[in-house]
Symmetry: C2
DNA sequence: TCACTTTTGCAACGCTCGTTGTATGTTACC
DNA sequence: GGTAACATACAACGAGCGTTGCAAAAGTGA
């Protein structure tokens, strides 16, 4: 059927809605984030990404001459920077060290931060799905790409949280037992562990109130272990 | 070289070492566990699995008529049962509820269990790599297969640990604050969170002493939060 | 030694998919 | 309005891979 030999003649079909031209790149990256997050690198097809972006296959190669690999790298950078900025914004919003919280308000603020972060898991579901694929396929991603991603993404956020933990320790609001970095990891683990487990790592999301309950429990446990009285 | 047209004539090559015949099936599953864990479902090739198992491609299809999909399901079952049995064995070894620990020995026993479990992560590296792929590709695995896996694997272990937590609570050794399942999740998260993070989810393993230190820290934090005094 | 099962090598099919070239159509800018 | 940059449709190539059939070879057991 492909060889009817009709040639480029019957191009009568009246143009799909053509938009701008520079934002195509971001549309492609955004669509690629969805498809890579859903299917992973190997399973994800260029055609699927093109369809999702409302763009022709050829356009992808025009914007990303490196093909699938370059596109994936771009998605990693774009998505992790976006989420990192959002996470840091929430951190500064709920734990502004210029105006440290009253001891009585510490749990409230930590809980607000935790809820905001857990909310980001559903707001940026594609991103976290992509992250799962990244860790699963870490052995097939060039080391420098992996390192650069870790540096600008998770490690940047972790560093900021660690600074915050250290500051809270200085203020006597918590007791990090000499290791603010460890307190950071434990905090993040406690607020997300049960949710990620119960929701199949985000595959089947939990009702809001249930997620809130589990988050609050994590914060309480953190404070039992790291509260200044503990 | 394959297309010399010589036909099946020059079969002079003197037979590779032929072994038994029934254990080929387990050899295939074991090899498939390695390859699936390393490469994931899509990337893993039947040829690679056959080579790893020291078996011809055709033999795989003789043992698993369902092809790649059936083989993957068999690997999921086989691997998770193996690890589950090992985890349960360690649990009963270090926390035998027939002979509950002295309060003074609780931390020692919890730490021993935690270290044993963390050790399994390296002993069964292929399995945990496979698990990462399972979670990343959960959307592409039939729901019943996923559920059956969860049931016989993680949930079985979690249930046993939860029973243990409840029993320790009854004995006044810890205080689960009314939710032993939550204590279980938090325990597992705390003992493994920093290790999985620092070791790139197991891609670049940590030195033994470092892993021990982080595990011990996790256990201490757990006891600060869930100790009967807390 | 002789049937019978299992394993193997090999070729081939069919399909998917990444990638590229090219001619045509469309949009933006001056 | 004309020109240059950008997008699209289409076709095609090539490689990889899952899968199957088949006949030779090797092991197994009486």
């Amino acid at each position: 059927m492909t060889g009817t030999g009709s040639g480029p003649r019957d191009r009568t079909r009246t143009a799909q809605p053509r938009r701008g031209r520079a934002d195509k790149a971001t549309a492609i990256v955004q669509a690629a984030c969805q498809v890579f997050g859903r299917d992973g690198y190997s399973r994800a097809g260029i055609d699927a990404i093109a369809a999702q972006a409302g763009v022709s296959t050829r356009t992808i190669y025009n914007h990303f001459p490196g093909g699938k690999a370059e596109l994936f790298r771009s998605v990693m950078r774009w998505s992790s920077e976006r989420v990192r900025d959002e996470q840091l914004a929430q951190l500064r919003r709920y734990l502004d060290l210029e105006r440290p919280p009253h001891p009585a308000d510490l749990e409230r603020d930590l809980l607000a931060l935790a809820r905001a972060w857990v909310g980001l898991m559903t707001d940026f579901r594609d991103h976290f799905a992509l992250v799962r694929h990244i860790y699963a396929e870490a052995g097939h991603i060039p080391a420098d790409v992996l390192d650069a991603w870790q540096e600008t993404g998770p490690r940047a956020v972790g560093g900021e949280v660690t600074s915050t933990m250290a500051a809270l320790d200085e203020l006597g609001l918590i007791d990090v037992h000499g290791d603010p970095a460890q307190a950071t990891v434990h905090f993040m683990a406690l607020i997300s562990a049960e949710i990620t487990q119960r929701s199949y790592w985000g595959v089947s999301p939990l009702p809001q109130e249930e997620a809130d309950r589990l988050t609050a429990a994590g914060v309480r446990v953190f404070l039992r272990a790291y509260g200044s009285a503990g």
